[in-house]
């Protein structure tokens, strides 16, 4: 199959790639990789790996699975782990590292990240865990960053109704009420995700945490220094509830959100008549827009704003996927090296729905302006925080927190839910 | 306690496979009629039509003068005893016997009285609380009969009720049924069997079924002594009646027949002058043969002898297709391999047209 872009063409950073290609020969070797990207995303990442194959002569076998989190544990235990695992959550990676299933990366990788990645230091910290003996090491390198603090809307709908893009959380809430008054359901919300049902709600809560409290509180929350049922957390949950637990605000009613698949939720923006006015979702959601979605035409986004009165600046929530070595091999090491090349990022950037922290990336390679704008949002952010649920232990961040949010949306009290989650957390220690 | 009338009854399974036709039969109250016939001739089918378990394809069935073709089994006032007993395996003997009455919503006392009476009659009292599987074959059969009795039906139907019992039990139960019939002289019973002895001993009349129809109806001895067709003649009695070909040479009160194999038979069957020269089949039952010094009806070499103690069966070397068998009282093992001449009392020599009907009618 042909490469996406012939080597040497376009605004891509070919030089470092060519150097890499010259110095690396892995002919006959196979690099196995597993991760969570399936479907379109798998197709895109496969394009990236193809350049690695082209450069090294190795074969890359990437498999994406919806139940990656389980599979990786099982295969690590049974001794048949792939060379590289791409973790969607640092939390699980930390778990695995502590059990000795991950191989530390060369310290040079850390140095590289610090120098070449936006917010490099924090990205190194997020990938540095205690190993089985307790020693701290860098175990992963971030590759793709998702920007979460985005609200998607249909400009045509806004135009017809005469709505304006809100500048602050206060305005957003006002807009929500207006829409409801006008007979337009303000929000599309889908929490369904198979076994991971509930996670989109955790993003909301995290956004609220960042907008209600200082980043320190957020960090304490992540590390359980303040308990999960702390009033500050409960407040954030309830702030989310202001939106999500009002039947008039949610397409299909608040309860429907719990069973609507998050991949299904954008469609309401595009229907005629529109089923909802806005969708708060991370940057990757564009992958689930219908075919006729056209940026700037019938879809656009704005920054999920902060409370004006709180004066906490413009916090931004993000997430990222982390490449780790689960079964060391020459190829695996080279793959990590490959990720240091801007090209590895540019290729996906060029296919859309991708943001990279790599500062060497040529912005021209972004497929759309949107991506460029999003990367600007990141630049403008006064606070950047990583998705909390991804940082929490997987039993919480990929378990109790999710189900707790579903319970909350479908009727439970915020305080009760928070207490339950904290109870589960207590058991871990 | 009823009479039954079948007129022109026909049965065709699936509309095409004709099993019975033109069945005309009247059964009076108090009779015990036995159906016999070769396997597959439709005995069970006829019985089941009377029971209502099979639809009657054509013709009518009357019970007590009422046409009951379309009356469901339960309303016909019949009771049936099956070959396999068909006891309800999950019910005790008592429950088996009272099931029909309970269904009919009879009062408790009434049920108890009826069951107790039947149990007494059949000596089933000690077993009333057992399950069928804890009973012997004969006891099970008695329960099946008891189940019929409690319903006090107009007609009892028995379909080979004894064929699953072993020889000794069969004899005993047969006698019990005979006694039962005697205790209920008014009840009408229809009994299907394979067993000749049962048929002969129990029946007030035997119905021989063959070729989709009734071959002959009559009291047992009449069938034995005056079979109307060769079929009936050979069907009733064991071993079967010997059939030997011959030609009438003298007619009158007594008839003389010249046998095809050289012998000569004299029969008490009267013939008319015009019958002379006609070809007939001479039928002699094995037990009616006796050794003779004079002109024999049959003479042949004994191939096999079977000494049963009481009697000895002589199997003659086959001269034609049909085997000839003689039955002599006592032990005669010495006859084996010898030439023996047999004749019979003229009164016991039957004559049949080659066209099958008994001549003398």
């Amino acid at each position: 199959q042909d490469l996406l872009v012939p080597v040497g063409e376009g605004p891509f950073t070919w030089d470092s790639y060519n150097t890499f290609a010259e110095n690396t020969d892995l002919s006959g070797e196979t690099v196995t990789i597993t991760g969570t990207w399936t479907g379109f995303e798998k197709e895109k990442v496969d394009e990236v790996f193809r350049y690695f194959e082209e450069a090294t002569g190795a074969t890359v076998e990437y498999s994406g699975s919806d139940s990656f989190e389980q599979d990786i544990v099982i295969s690590a235990r049974s001794g048949s782990a792939p060379n590289i695992a791409i973790f969607p959550q640092p939390g699980l990676a930390a778990d695995m590292a502590s059990q000795g299933y991950l191989t530390p990366l060369d310290p040079s990788v850390g140095d590289f990240v610090r120098e070449n990645y936006a917010a490099g230091e924090s990205l190194v910290d997020l990938a540095t865990y205690a190993g089985p003996e307790g020693e701290e090491n860098l175990y992963g390198i971030f590759y793709r960053i998702d920007l979460k603090s985005l609200v998607w809307y249909n400009p045509i709908t806004f135009d017809e109704f005469g709505f304006d893009v809100p500048e602050s959380m206060e305005e957003l809430k006002e807009l929500t009420e207006d829409m409801a008054d006008e007979g337009l359901t303000p929000w599309c919300l889908g929490l369904g995700a198979g076994a991971a049902t509930g996670w989109p709600a955790t993003d909301w809560v995290e956004e609220m945490m960042l907008r209600l409290h200082s980043p320190d509180v957020y960090d304490q929350w992540v590390s359980n220094e303040i308990s999960f049922d702390d009033p500050q957390v409960v407040e954030a949950i309830e702030e989310f509830g202001w939106f999500a637990k009002n039947d008039d605000y949610i397409n299909g009613g608040a309860e429907a959100a719990a069973t609507t698949d998050y991949r299904d939720s954008p469609s309401g923006l595009f229907t005629i008549p529109p089923e909802c006015g806005m969708l708060r979702q991370a940057s990757f959601v564009t992958a689930f827009f219908p075919d006729d979605a056209e940026m700037g035409e019938n879809i656009d986004f704005f920054y999920f704003p902060a409370f004006e009165e709180k004066d906490l600046g413009n916090p931004v929530l993000g997430a990222g996927t982390l490449f780790t070595i689960t079964d060391p091999s020459e190829g695996a090491t080279k793959m990590i090296e490959f990720l240091e090349l801007p090209l590895a990022h540019e290729i996906w950037a060029n296919q859309g729905a991708f943001l990279s922290p790599h500062s060497g990336l040529n912005p021209e390679t972004y497929q759309t302006d949107t991506q460029r704008q999003q990367s600007e949002i990141i630049q403008e952010a006064t606070t950047f925080r990583f998705d909390a649920s991804d940082l929490m232990p997987s039993e919480i961040g990929a378990g109790a927190f999710w189900t707790g949010m579903v319970d909350y949306v479908t009727g439970s009290e915020a305080a009760d839910v928070a207490a339950d989650i904290q109870a589960r957390w207590d058991q871990l220690n | 306690m009823a009479n039954l009338k079948l007129s022109g009854v026909r049965k065709a399974y699936g509309g095409t496979v004709e099993v019975l036709k033109d069945i005309d039969l009247e059964i009076e109250q108090g009779e015990l009629v036995v159906f016999v016939g070769p396997s597959g001739c439709g005995k069970s089918t006829l019985l089941r039509m009377i029971a209502g378990l099979e639809k009657i394809t054509d013709g009518t069935l009357e019970i007590d003068g009422q046409v009951v073709n379309d009356v469901p089994p339960a309303q016909r006032g019949i009771a049936m005893v099956f070959q396999s007993y068909a006891l309800y395996p999950h019910m005790t003997v008592r429950d088996n016997m009272s099931f029909a009455l309970k269904i009919a919503k009879k009062s408790k006392d009434e049920i108890e009285a009826a069951v107790d009476k039947a149990a007494k009659m059949l000596q089933l009292e000690p077993y009333l609380d057992r399950l069928p599987k804890a009973l012997s074959g004969g006891q099970r059969q008695r329960v099946a009969i008891g189940r019929s009795i409690v319903r006090d039906p107009k007609v009892y139907l028995f379909d080979e009720p004894l064929s699953n019992l072993d020889a000794a039990l069969r004899v005993a139960t047969r006698i019990e049924i005979a006694q039962l019939k005697e205790q209920m002289p008014d009840s009408t019973m229809i009994y299907v069997t394979h067993d000749q002895i049962e048929a002969m001993t129990l029946a007030s009349r035997i119905v021989v079924l063959a070729n989709k129809g009734i071959a002959q109806v009559g009291p047992p001895l009449e069938l034995y002594e005056k079979p109307r067709t060769e079929f009936v003649a050979q069907f009733i009695g064991s071993p079967a009646m010997n059939m030997l070909q011959g030609e009438i040479v003298e007619t009158g009160e007594r008839t003389r027949v010249k046998m095809a194999n050289g012998g000569e038979a004299v029969s008490a069957v009267p013939t008319r002058e015009e019958d002379r020269g006609k070809r007939v089949n001479v039928g002699v039952r094995p037990e009616d043969f006796a050794e003779t010094e004079g002109t024999p009806i049959y003479r042949g070499k004994v191939d096999i002898t079977e000494a049963l103690g009481e009697v000895t069966l002589l199997y003659f070397e086959a001269q034609s297709d049909e085997p000839v068998i003689g039955k002599l009282p006592g032990v005669h093992a010495d006859l084996r391999g010898r030439e023996v001449a047999m004749s019979a009392d003229p009164a016991k020599v039957h004559l049949f047209h080659e066209g099958q009907s008994l001549l003398w009618r």
């Binding site: 544990v73 309860e255 719990a258 069973t259 | 099956f82 309800y88």
Partner: protein, 325 residues
């Protein structure tokens, strides 16, 4: 090598290897260890026959011991340790678990499942078996009803997601509600009853199984007992309940047991339908939440499941022993 060829070769090796064991071991026994030579062939054959049952049964018993007995024992042992397996906690996992609301919900739901699913599947199976017994198109009907048996639990869940979908344009239940002018509801969120909606999927799948076995049993009832009942004046309902059903109670119980056992193993349906949310968790799916995360807890759950099955198991053993007499 093409994948098809690899597949075929592996299949062939696997199957041949297995059959080969039996053939070879018998050959060795008969020809090498105890050859039937003329002088003492009687004794040698007799001796070979003493060994042979063990040859026959050995592989099966190996499988059973390694894959079922060892795990049962091993799991119990594991359930006495903490999540990492390093620390002995005695019954700690159990006490902690029972203290937890989520577990109690799962336990309660599981008991609902164990009661409802086998009962309903057996009931429907019996009903269909009886109704189709004399039907000209009975076999066709049975095939239709058996069909869900061939569908995986994941596939079945998918099918029912359709039926239960919130959108009246997708879900037929809400379409019907819509038709009579009712608001659409998310049936998977109707507290308590949602359990039954999920259970019905299992019923839908297992009815075919019950039906096949029960209709075979119904066929096995002696015709004469039914005819006798007809003559005795019983109506069709009385015949069914008083004559037929009592005669097949044994089979009904076997079907019931089999489905009960299955119910205690299936997690996929809950997993796919609700992911255990909305208070629909059952023990197997609850266990899956912990599996490979907290093995101590997971094995403890497995053991609770074992305990629930134990009466059924004992009953089966007793039954088998009785049959052997």
């Amino acid at each position: 090598m093409s994948p098809i060829l690899t597949g075929l070769v592996t299949i062939a090796i696997a199957v041949a290897g297995c059959a080969g064991y039996f053939y070879a071991s018998n050959w060795v026994l008969d020809r090498v260890i105890f050859p039937p030579r003329t002088d003492d062939r009687g004794r040698n054959i007799a001796r070979a026959n003493l060994v042979r049952p063990w040859l026959f049964i050995l592989p099966a018993m190996l499988f059973l011991s390694v894959y079922l007995i060892y795990p049962v024992v091993g799991s119990f042992w594991r359930s006495l340790f903490n999540r990492s397996g390093a620390e002995f906690v005695g019954l700690g996992n159990y006490t902690e678990m029972f203290a937890e609301e989520g577990f109690r919900v799962a336990l309660f739901n599981n008991i609902l499942w164990v009661i409802f699913v086998p009962a309903a599947a057996t009931f429907f199976g019996l009903l269909v078996a009886q109704l189709t017994d004399r039907l000209r198109w009975g076999n066709l009907a049975k095939s239709m009803i058996f069909m869900p048996m061939a569908i995986s639990f994941v596939g079945a869940s998918l099918i029912w997601k359709f039926v239960y979908a919130n959108d009246p344009d997708i879900g037929i239940i809400n379409a019907l509600r819509d038709f009579v002018g009712l608001e659409p509801v998310d049936v998977l969120q109707v507290a308590f009853w949602n359990n039954f909606f999920i259970m019905f999927i299992m019923v839908w799948m297992q009815t075919g199984f019950a039906m096949v076995i029960l209709s075979a049993a119904l066929r096995g009832i002696p015709e004469e007992t039914i005819e006798a009942a007809i003559i005795d004046g019983a109506n069709p309902f009385q015949i069914f309940f008083k004559i037929k059903v009592p005669q097949i109670t044994g089979t009904i119980l076997v079907v019931w047991t089999t489905i009960t056992i299955l119910v205690l193993k299936v997690f996929d349906i809950v997993y796919a339908m609700t992911g255990g949310n909305f208070d629909t968790e059952i023990l197997p799916s609850y266990m899956m939440d912990y599996m490979f995360r907290d093995d101590g807890r997971a094995t403890a759950v497995a053991f609770v499941i074992m305990v629930i099955v134990t009466p059924v198991m004992v009953w089966n053993i007793v039954q088998a022993r009785r049959e052997m007499r």
